[in-house]
Symmetry: C2
Subunit: 245 residues, 2 copies
Amino acid sequence: MRSIVAFYFCYLLCLCLGFACVVLVSVWNTQWRGGFAWDGSPHQFNWHPVLMVTGLVVLYGNGAVLYRVPLTWGQNKLPWKLLHAGVMLLALVLSILGLCAVFDFHNASNTHNLYSLHSWIGICTTALFTFQWVLGLAGFLLPCSPVSFRKLLKPAHVWMGGSILVLSIVSCISGINEKLFFALKVTNNTEPYANLPPEAVVANSLGVLIVVFGLVVLKILSNQKWQRPDASEDMSYSPLLQDDN
Amino acid sequence: MRSIVAFYFCYLLCLCLGFACVVLVSVWNTQWRGGFAWDGSPHQFNWHPVLMVTGLVVLYGNGAVLYRVPLTWGQNKLPWKLLHAGVMLLALVLSILGLCAVFDFHNASNTHNLYSLHSWIGICTTALFTFQWVLGLAGFLLPCSPVSFRKLLKPAHVWMGGSILVLSIVSCISGINEKLFFALKVTNNTEPYANLPPEAVVANSLGVLIVVFGLVVLKILSNQKWQRPDASEDMSYSPLLQDDN
């Protein structure tokens, strides 16, 4: 019972932190960065942090812990499996749109792509996420997937899931840090980053919230007591058309 | 047997990646950043990445996985406990020296401290690491520590250990990214970062190695099969003077 209460406390924290991250990244880019457009201007760039934080961190993290909600354990796993795949697909689509936003902006302003460490880690994160989603679809949802493959895939899928979240957090923090150094300087007619103007405090706080959100999700994922019980474990290997309960 | 082979493969990878990180961060700062000094100059700053990567990532990661080495399982735990505490203390001292290097450099050049997101996450990481080390000493090595406290502390210590490593990786990647944007620009008489000069490739590769090292360490820590077996688990709660075997 204590374990269930502790879970719901962490889960509530995860939901609230995720919501706060989406609000804060949107406020930052609306209030201080001039809002949004899809025209190759810096306003198109503003979609990049909003879509990456919403997709690659918040939706991804919430999709990852879905199976851990005890309320779902007594129920047929199939709808939850589909919801997990659906939330992750939405997270992936938003992440890819977020990448399109920054590539379009760079191309329109003749800026090089993929040279910074942030971009190297970020592109690897999205590539691994795409690979993980396709492999998850093939292994856990397609009826032709052999049981032996699924049994092999399950621990790798869980491990890769946590690793992608770590990579997402690394990408977001290095990106927010980079953006603030680019944007907040006297030559841009703004107070420099070093003076910690309100925008810097808001964006730094967003970074801290992202890290705390990620650690709460990793805490939920790593707790053995919060895993879907063994009794239904075999079902988790059943692909879509074999889920008969 | 297969699990032991897999462990030693991961452990060897962890050792090699850690060694490569220390070599690469040293080469970067010697070859391209002008080497080291302790005089408030940019050469003093160069200690910062070297000491943080060596202490907060490589030594810390290696100290964290010490108990997982199967070779140690049949042996008295006390020497390994002392080695774990010793390696972590060395990691902590190097990290604090790394912070002193950057604070001294900033103060000498009248640059603000602790304004960037990188610095916020970095200072929290070192503070948490200090707290974790002191609490670990009090809980697991002092003879007056009550058993109930140690039992409560163990899972929190393990969880906090992994979280600090995630924070270390986040801090290092955002720091390397920030440093390259500061250093590689035409006004500094260097080729800009966007052209990916050799220094950028080396430092970006260092970042990638740090991330891979961190994921390998987290993989070792998260594998239940690689934890010191239950038989010796009670010993792990025995503080220093009660370790009688």
